[in-house]
């Protein structure tokens, strides 16, 4: 049982990188605690900039800092950063091309009991429609570390979503590299493909295990980069396997599933796409696992849908 949250890994990785490069700055909107950045604030106080609860200003300031050669990471709750600041992200970061890393913390339904105001279930939809903005969601602590090492070196604007609570590992060990825009085949298979991102990658792996026990061969694709999207991996999945199912901690609209469907819709004789995600309603409140199960992001539901599909379609 992993007890280390991805945000703690973010803090450790950024601390390590920031000690090597004093242009690396972290900006917080009264969010240093919720971002697990207290050790950073204590050890590198001159590299942490507090902006108060002002999500438009934090992104504008970060753009101004980046324009002057700094490497700012804005760590602010995903629900606010991807909505309240979205125009600054579009204009000051993406359009002006400033090297700002936007870290949406406590993403998805991490703040499960706090209600729709604190859920970020539209962030993939809005960020992936903005040109010149990478959109990345790491699956576990190992991938989080690799992503932040990548971000520290990259000169491109990016939005990254992190969950709040520790998640089970998807990888068995530290990753030696991270290739942005390249899907990871967590396991190969011939019958169907489960495509997931972030915290649903673990769900996909667990579901794959259960389906294999029923004799199905399951491919699991981890789309850690929503944008740029690895279209080739998706096309291959749609051509080489008979069913594609997407799993996301996001509205069923305009997220990972939609992105996958957009790619596959142009491919003749491709597998159908089944999109699993959060229904188009103010999401029910509770713990992440409860919310996932409520909306069918569970091993049982996936098993049911897949079994029904193969019973009807051979």
């Amino acid at each position: 049982m992993n007890k280390i949250a991805n945000r703690q890994i973010m803090c450790e990785t950024l601390l390590e990188q920031a000690k090597k490069n004093n242009d690396l700055l972290v900006l917080t909107s009264d969010s240093r605690g919720s971002a697990s950045l207290l050790p950073f604030a204590e050890q590198l106080p001159t590299q942490l900039i507090e902006t108060g609860i002002a999500e438009q200003n934090i992104v504008g300031m970060a753009a101004g800092l980046a324009h002057s050669g700094k490497r700012p990471f804005v760590a602010s709750p995903a629900c606010f950063l991807s909505m309240r600041s979205i125009e600054q992200i579009k204009v000051d970061v993406a359009y002006s091309n400033t090297n700002v890393k936007l870290i949406g913390i406590s993403g998805g339904v991490s703040y499960g009991a706090l209600g729709m105001s604190h859920h970020s279930l539209q962030d993939i939809a809005v960020t992936r429609a903005i040109p010149n903005l990478e959109v990345i969601i790491p699956a576990d602590r190992f991938e989080t570390k690799a992503v932040f090492n990548y971000l520290a070196e990259s000169d491109k604007p990016a939005y990254v979503r992190l969950g709040r609570n520790p998640v089970e590992d998807c990888y068995s060990e530290e990753l030696t590299s991270f290739e942005v825009g390249k899907a990871v085949t967590m396991q190969d298979g011939r019958d169907l493909t489960l495509i997931a991102t972030g915290e649903t990658v673990r769900v996909a792996l667990d579901a794959a295990l259960a389906l294999e026990q029923q004799g199905l061969s399951v491919r699991v694709l981890n789309i850690h980069t929503i944008k740029p999207l690895d279209q080739q991996a998706i096309i291959k999945a749609a051509q080489e396997t008979k069913l594609v199912m997407t799993l996301e901690e996001h509205s069923i609209y305009s997220g990972l599933g939609a992105a996958v469907a957009e790619v596959i819709s142009a491919i003749p004789q491709s597998a159908p796409v089944k999109i699993l995600g959060i229904a188009d309603e103010p999401a029910i409140t509770g713990k992440t696992k409860e919310i996932f199960e409520h909306y069918g992001l569970s091993v049982e539901n996936i098993k049911q849908i897949v079994t029904d599909y193969f019973r009807k379609n051979g």
Partner: protein
């Protein structure tokens, strides 16, 4: 200062020609802040078209991005682009669009959405402080723009970080697209608001280049950003557009254009005899 007054009239002529040719533009907004841009670019700022990326250059962020024509005209005159290119303003595929665009050297950031300039300028001024650089950062805001909440988020942060090398200039022409800014959304008491946010405030005649020059050359108050409330006339320089909200983005017809150019030339002639 006579030379700068003449420069401002020449820039106004360029602005009118661009707008008349393209049949689009923000005539009233351009003319109200022309003297501010001329003072900044010809008298105050340390900038060089041959070294647009000089890390020690002064920074200018035009938060009221819609007054793009005057910005293009000044940048062209300063050598950041060929004057000939002004003819492409708003044309298909042109770099010279209706808002500042950093494809053109000299433009630091893309603007157009109001309320963005001050947070960005605050970040730049903070970077200067952290990098121990001494450049100044200027941002020009419209008065209608002051209804944007992000302006006040930036104002708070700039004072909090004691950014005394930051100057915000308010183009206080009193008019916006729907009418008088005091009717659309009251901003007064404006100087008190900025003082309450921790800024040093100056008020000047924003169409008087000598007054602007004096204000912009003043030593900053240590630890405080400076706000210059520049009282201007929307449409300044051509009588038919002065103080007319309707001229916010109106394009002159041939008769109006001829009259406007004639008025500007008459003013130039007066200055020639001084």
């Amino acid at each position: 200062m006579v030379n700068l007054q003449k420069k401002a009239l020449e820039i106004r002529k360029d602005v009118l020609e661009m707008i008349f040719h393209a049949k689009t533009g923000h005539t009233g907004s351009d003319l109200s802040c022309t003297d501010i841009l001329v003072t900044l670019y010809y008298d105050v700022m340390n900038i060089d078209a041959n070294q647009p990326d000089d890390p020690n250059r002064d920074r200018y962020i035009q938060s009221k991005g819609h007054a793009a024509e005057v910005y293009w005209a000044v940048l062209a005159d300063k050598g950041f682009l060929e004057k000939e290119e002004l003819k492409t303003f708003s044309a298909y595929g042109s770099r010279l669009i209706g808002h500042p665009n950093n494809k053109v050297a000299g433009v630091e950031m893309n603007t157009g959405s109001l309320g963005h300039g001050l947070p960005i300028a605050t970040g730049m001024a903070l970077a200067a402080k952290k990098n121990q650089k001494h450049y100044r950062t200027f941002t020009l805001l419209g008065d209608g723009e002051l209804a944007e909440g992000s302006v006040w988020e930036g104002a708070m942060a700039a004072a909090h970080y004691q950014l005394d090398q930051l100057t915000a200039i308010i183009d206080r022409n009193g008019l916006q697209i729907s009418g008088a800014s005091e009717d659309v959304m009251r901003v007064e008491p404006l100087a008190d608001k900025w003082r309450a946010f921790g800024w040093h405030v100056l008020e000047v005649d924003g169409n008087d280049i000598s007054a602007l020059s004096e204000a912009l050359h003043q030593q900053p108050v240590t630890g405080k950003p400076t706000c210059i409330i520049a009282h201007t006339v929307k449409g300044k320089g051509i009588s038919l557009a002065e103080n007319q909200a309707g001229w916010h983005h109106r394009v002159p017809n041939q008769v109006e254009f001829d009259q406007a150019i004639a008025e500007l030339e008459a003013q130039l002639e007066v200055l020639d005899h001084e």
